[in-house]
């Protein structure tokens, strides 16, 4: 909703704080002011009134009432009807503090209830609260605790850590083995992909899909893995591997049940290796070079975990760089160098001349003859901004060749 600062001011005798301060007070104690727009000598607040507060705060009158509680400023006259809710809620000071983790005194609680315009009776350390009729969101004890907490201010509640739990958390068998298997496959050179749950065919359909080709839940991982395989094979020169080896562990859905599946590109004897690693035989189907098995059934055959989750490797901080939407260009280069020169020495010269357009390199051949050695590389060029032309890449290759040849006894073949 929108509320005008000038109109809000009209409800108060005293001057309101600045619009920014008003917005901040509402955001941290009531509901979020998402923006303030200056307009003809006024300020318009864009307020996201919480759904439970819609009945009392959907106009400036209601917001003024709220502000009077938050800022502890009295209204010229009460804007509510003066009628009270039929509900009486009993809450004690200790109950309030026990839930919030605060140390609010009885006096402070009473002051907050007053500011909110609630009627109440005090009985020992208990308050019997009778909210205004307009506050339809207040029905039970917790509602009053929230009122006290937010007006008191969540910033005044101290952050504390829970005490150590008596026993170490239970190891989740499924997560334990999922992690173990993933780490094993990664060590074997496989990369993990997550593919889409929604598909254009399957056994379980959505009543209202978000796209016409995504109306079913996947019945297997194979479909997603095949697409991934195809796409990654096209991009192979950009990837630092010779072969696309991927896997996924995720939930699939058939008519009667949801279960977790494991799918993997079936290269070499990876399934046997995994069986050996786990100590149980893994049965499944290979189709289109993708092996898939019911992970939940496999899990049943595995023993309860006896140790902890695997320790995480410390990773350098990673910053992702955007994937270029433009095509890449391939070139090969081979060079004779004295045998004490390493392939890295050669690459260094290549990279220096190639600018940031050289996005990947691969040493694909190396052989020695007498005191010389030949290195051959695939070079992959790609721009983040445009499709590279042959001429542009040729020019780079010319300067690479020239730079390599300028070293004594180096010769581009």
């Amino acid at each position: 909703m929108e509320a005008s600062y000038n109109k809000l001011q009209e409800y108060f005798e005293d001057k309101l704080p600045s619009p920014e301060k008003v917005a901040e007070a509402l955001t941290f104690h009531s509901y979020e002011v998402e923006g303030i727009e200056e307009k003809d000598g006024d300020y318009i607040f864009d307020i996201d009134v919480l759904p439970n507060r819609a009945p009392d705060s959907s106009d400036e009158k209601g917001v003024a009432k709220e502000l009077s509680a938050v800022l502890d400023m009295s209204l010229k006259e009460d804007v509510f009807s003066g009628k009270l809710s039929e509900i009486k809620i009993t809450v004690s000071v200790s109950q309030i503090n026990k839930l919030l983790g605060a140390d609010i005194s009885a006096g402070e609680v009473e002051d907050i209830l007053k500011r909110l315009g609630f009627e109440y009776e005090v009985s020992g350390e208990e308050f019997v609260v009778n909210p205004p009729l307009e506050r339809t969101d207040l029905k039970i004890k917790i509602d009053i605790i929230e009122e006290v907490g937010r007006i008191y201010g969540y910033e005044n509640i101290e952050a504390i850590l829970p005490s150590k739990s008596e026993k170490a958390p239970k190891i989740n068998k499924k997560f334990y083995y999922v992690s173990k298997i993933k780490n094993f496959l990664v060590k074997e050179g496989f990369s993990e992909v997550y593919t889409y749950t929604f598909r254009d065919s399957g056994e379980v359909e959505m009543i209202k899909p978000f796209a016409s080709d995504k109306n079913f839940l996947r019945t297997d991982l194979r479909g997603g893995l095949l697409r991934s395989l195809e796409q990654n094979t096209k991009n192979l020169p950009l990837l630092s591997c010779d072969e696309v080896k991927i896997f996924e562990i995720g939930n699939v859905f058939n008519k009667d049940k949801e279960y977790t599946s494991l799918g993997i590109t079936d290269s070499g004897d990876i399934v046997n290796k995994l069986s050996e690693f786990l100590g149980v035989e893994i049965k499944g189907d290979t189709e289109d070079n993708i092996f898939e098995t019911n992970f939940d059934e496999l899990l049943e055959k595995l023993p309860e975990p006896e140790d902890e989750y695997e320790k995480l490797e410390k990773k350098e901080s990673i910053t992702y760089s955007s994937i270029s939407p433009y095509p890449f260009m391939l070139r090969d280069i081979a060079v004779w160098v004295p045998s004490d020169v390493t392939s890295d020495d050669v690459l260094e010269v290549v990279k220096k001349e190639s600018t940031e357009l050289l996005v990947n390199t691969k040493l694909f051949d190396e052989f020695k003859k007498d005191d010389k050695i030949s290195y051959a590389f695939n070079l992959v060029f790609q721009s983040q901004e445009k499709t590279l032309s042959d001429e542009e890449v040729n020019k780079i290759m010319d300067s690479v060749t020239e730079a390599l040849n300028s070293n004594s006894n180096w010769e581009v073949r």
Binding site: L99, G189, Y194, Q231, K362
Partner: protein, 246 residues
């Protein structure tokens, strides 16, 4: 020569790496990893979580309802596991629940119809809003490897009360203002609150005796913040140009 590229390790998907890290941080604070189904009943996803019968989140434009199955939805949050866990475990409870969730919304660089979330739930006799603050601050500091401040704003979610929204001080500019925090110095990271007594009751727990907190964090959003990922859709495309960067 042949083995130049052999023995090369593959890559764990960044989502897996983040879930592992989240689990490790929370495990140190005594939280157990729990899981549950991605397709669930209206009861576990909405009713038992104190959603009113006519709550807008139940509508078809927000939630995927399943054809030919009675009152069945694709879970809209990992909170469905709250009740399932409480039914089978008595307090003290400390769990985290990372998992896939679904919302029926148009996809763009910051929204996907499927994404990952993790739930935190802690219930015992003494857990307070102050504990929630402490646990969240610790998590964010460890996850971003930075000292951070957090601040709580009142909010509303049917299954918690008080309901709060949590902002963290920007880990990138440390409050000076940058593109990540849109020059405010603060980043909105998650929703949380104290578990509503109706939810405890639905889970078979005495709400007079026990209390606790729950929170939910979008992991896709954490990925955008932590790694500078500019399009969340990349997480689910099986593209190694993306995965192999991690």
């Amino acid at each position: 020569m042949d083995d130049l590229n052999k023995n090369k390790k593959g890559h764990l998907h960044p989502m897996t790496q983040m879930i592992n890290e989240i689990n490790s941080i929370f495990s140190d604070m005594g939280f157990e990893f729990a899981d549950g189904p991605e397709m669930d009943s209206e009861h576990y996803n909405f009713d038992a979580l104190n959603f009113e019968k006519d709550h807008p989140a139940r509508a078809m434009q927000d939630t995927f309802w399943v054809k030919d199955k009675e009152s069945t939805v694709m879970r809209t949050h990992t909170s469905n596991v709250q009740i399932r866990y409480m039914e089978n475990n008595k307090p003290p409870i400390r769990i985290i629940v990372p998992g896939k969730v679904f919302r029926n919304e148009a996809t763009d660089a910051t929204h996907e119809a499927q994404f990952y979330q993790f739930e935190g739930l802690m219930v015992d006799e003494t857990t307070t809003l102050g504990t929630l603050k402490g646990v969240l601050k610790t998590f964010l500091e460890k996850f971003f490897s930075k000292d951070v401040e957090i601040r709580l704003r009142p909010s509303y979610f049917p299954f918690v009360e008080p309901g709060i929204e949590v902002d963290m001080s920007c880990f990138s500019c440390e409050g000076k203002g940058c593109s990540i925090c849109k020059s405010t110095g603060w980043i909105e990271v998650l929703g949380a609150g104290m578990v509503h007594p109706n939810v405890l009751k639905a889970g078979g727990i005495d709400s007079e005796k026990y209390q606790g907190f729950a929170f939910g964090v979008g992991i896709d959003r954490l990925a955008m913040l932590k790694y500078g990922i500019d399009d969340v859709r990349l997480l689910y495309q099986g593209d190694l140009r993306f995965v192999n960067q991690f």
